[in-house]
Amino acid sequence: MKYLFLYLRSLMFVALLGGASTTFADDGSGLKTSVALDLVGSFNRTKLNTANDRFDVREAEFLLYGPIDHLFDGMLNVAAHNEGGVSLFEVHEAYIGSSKLIPRSRFRLGQFFLGIGRLNRFHRHDWPFISAPKEHLEFFGAEAATDTGGEYSYLMPLPFFLELTAGVTNGWTYGHVHNVGQRPRVPTHYGRATTYVDLPANGGAQTSLNFLSRTSAQGDAMTLVGADLTAKWREAGVLNFLLQTEAWQRTIKPLIGSSERSFGMYVFPQFAVADQTQFGLLMDYFTVLTLKNIVGAPIANVENRLVPTLTYKTSEFVTLRLAYDWSVAKQANIADRNNQVFQMQATVNLGAHPSHDF
């Protein structure tokens, strides 16, 4: 019954979106529609986990956005994910915002991907690799941490780029949650400071410092601090070199029991091998710094991943990828766990022209 209800709800979403995009496309309202498809095939070579050995629609996303009136803009992002063999739609983002009310400022109110970090601010089909690095999976989720609340960004009046962002959201849920959650003791709140510098030879680099915190209903306080860097060199439309990296530390102080501190980072260098082809290598590292055994002795542990990734773009609307995911999880007194997965991906953009974000 539950799945039938969810399926019918999905049909309703599709019908509404289809109707909306047809009805409002040319009426002068400025409403834009776009669709993104993320198709992923995954085949586990070591047979450690063959449950996902198939080619699947990982995500189908509908985006509607445009001006609401002379002051506000709106966005609705609905995406379907495969849950238990059924593609079920859910709202990813639904917010109103404005960059016209307060000088040098923009804000949004509603549900959105939290404006923190690098990957968390981009939809997964726009990532330069196929699957989430371990730290992102652990600290934010398979795609992103999303919540409902408000976010404000201010561009400092300085002779260089410095933008400050702060947000507060409900915090009833965080991460992969399948219910309405519980009122937290301290809602989710976060901040980000971003700067940018031009680099020689048509390059540029954006760096940020990030902070997020929340105390759950059970009294468990979580704090995330991290930094991210994205550097690009583009010449005549070709992304010659990309360097993207994030490093995060999370501290969980439960009301009962000991604190846990984890650290994770990834580095992704990618270079162009031809005008439409890029090769990158995702290097991933994750460790629980405070892991101890039951008698209190520290336990060394680390998860490493190496994912060589080949990307080919037929145009700016279609991206094809092949990747080979080697991961090793090491923990003292436990046999190393090696996993190798072959992955392929096709992402497609239909409709309104996608934004060339930096």
Binding site: P67, H70, D73, S99, K100, L101, I102, P103, R104, S105, R106, S153, Y154, L155, P157, F160, F161, E163, T194, Y196, D198, N202, G204, Q206, K232, R234, E235, A236, G237, V238, D275, Q276, S315, E316, F317, H353, P354, S355, H356, D357, F358
Partner: protein, 322 residues
């Protein structure tokens, strides 16, 4: 008596300070930020001393594939006017830049929002429905109008209109600047016509058959301005790099049609152009399509003349004939 003297002694200073601050306000320049350097130059020409203009691009980028770089956001945050070519040329990055700037004046519909293509007589506007199966088609028409002096003069009208909206006190100055600019473009046009005369004459002698081909249809306005026709494009579909098969096919067709020169922007893959030249025996002329303030062609006149001279030179054989 002494205190009165002290107070009255300061009055001239106050008056001087007041006059200075009023002057500063009165003469605060209009900050214009444009996408391409050519439009920044136009804004400076039309606005004169009342305008300070800056371009986001350097002039050597492929204007179809530019990222919404944070520095663009910072520059537009303080702008009084932001001017784009429009016709969807900047659709990939400027909407994001404008939104993130937090500058209400320059948002679409605001007084400082300017699309120079507004008053241009647009070429190659599709008459039937278009979609992406046809390549990266510009549904509003060809946006590369800035390669024609007369079309650029038409584009300047919207720049002047934007300046007038944000700085009505200098309306007459901007109107005068616009008139002068149009006259300058007229004069430049005549100069370039002279430079291209040998190529035009050769084309006329060939019964109007085209003597050149483009890599991508960026030069439509330039060619139209000077009465030159194009055999088409090396790309089979706009924005789609030609396959090996397409290269062979178009090289053969161009050779058979007596094409003398291929014209390409300097941001296209050199290897593809070299291969076309090898297959067809046709010389390829690679030129910038925008002013490059830090590069070799700092002025619009230099750029126009360079394109013209390069075409004529490439089309001229060893005996000096076209």
């Amino acid at each position: 008596m002494t205190s009165n003297t002290k107070i009255t002694g300061f009055i001239p200073y106050f008056i001087a300070l007041l006059i200075t601050s009023l002057s500063a306000t009165a003469f605060a320049k209009v900050k214009v930020v444009t996408t391409i350097p050519d439009l920044a130059w136009v804004a400076a020409e039309v606005g004169g001393d009342y305008v300070e203009s800056k371009a986001l691009l350097r002039g050597n980028e492929n204007p179809h594939f530019v990222d919404a770089v944070p520095e663009f956001t910072r520059l537009t945050a303080d702008a009084d006017v932001v001017c784009m070519a429009g016709l969807d040329l900047e659709v990939g990055y400027m909407p994001a830049v404008l939104t993130r700037s937090g500058n209400a004046k320059i948002q679409p519909g605001g007084p400082g929002y300017c699309e120079a293509g507004k008053f241009v007589q647009v070429l190659e506007k599709p008459t039937a429905a278009v979609d992406r199966s046809m390549g990266d088609v510009h549904p509003a028409g060809n946006p590369h109008f800035f390669l024609s002096p007369k079309a650029l003069a038409d584009g300047a009208k919207e720049i002047a209109a934007a300046l007038t909206r944000v700085d009505p006190a200098h309306t007459s100055d901007y109107k005068k600047g616009l008139t002068n600019f149009a006259a300058k473009m007229d004069a430049l046009d005549k100069e370039v016509v002279k430079l291209l005369n040998p190529l035009k004459s050769a084309q006329d002698k060939a019964g109007g058959k085209p003597l050149l081909i483009e890599y991508h249809r960026e030069f439509s306005y330039f060619l139209n301005e000077y009465g030159l026709t194009s055999f088409g494009s090396i790309e089979e579909k706009p924005g789609v790099p030609p396959s090996a098969g397409r290269l062979g096919e178009i090289a053969a067709a161009s050779k058979a049609a007596g094409i003398r020169v291929a014209l390409a922007a300097d941001y296209y893959p050199k290897k593809t152009l070299e291969r076309f030249s090898e297959l067809s025996g046709i010389k390829v002329v690679v030129v910038p399509t925008m002013i490059q303030p830090s590069g070799s062609y700092k002025t619009y006149a230099e750029l126009q003349k360079h394109i013209a001279n390069s075409l004529v030179s490439a089309a001229t054989d060893r005996s000096g004939k076209i």
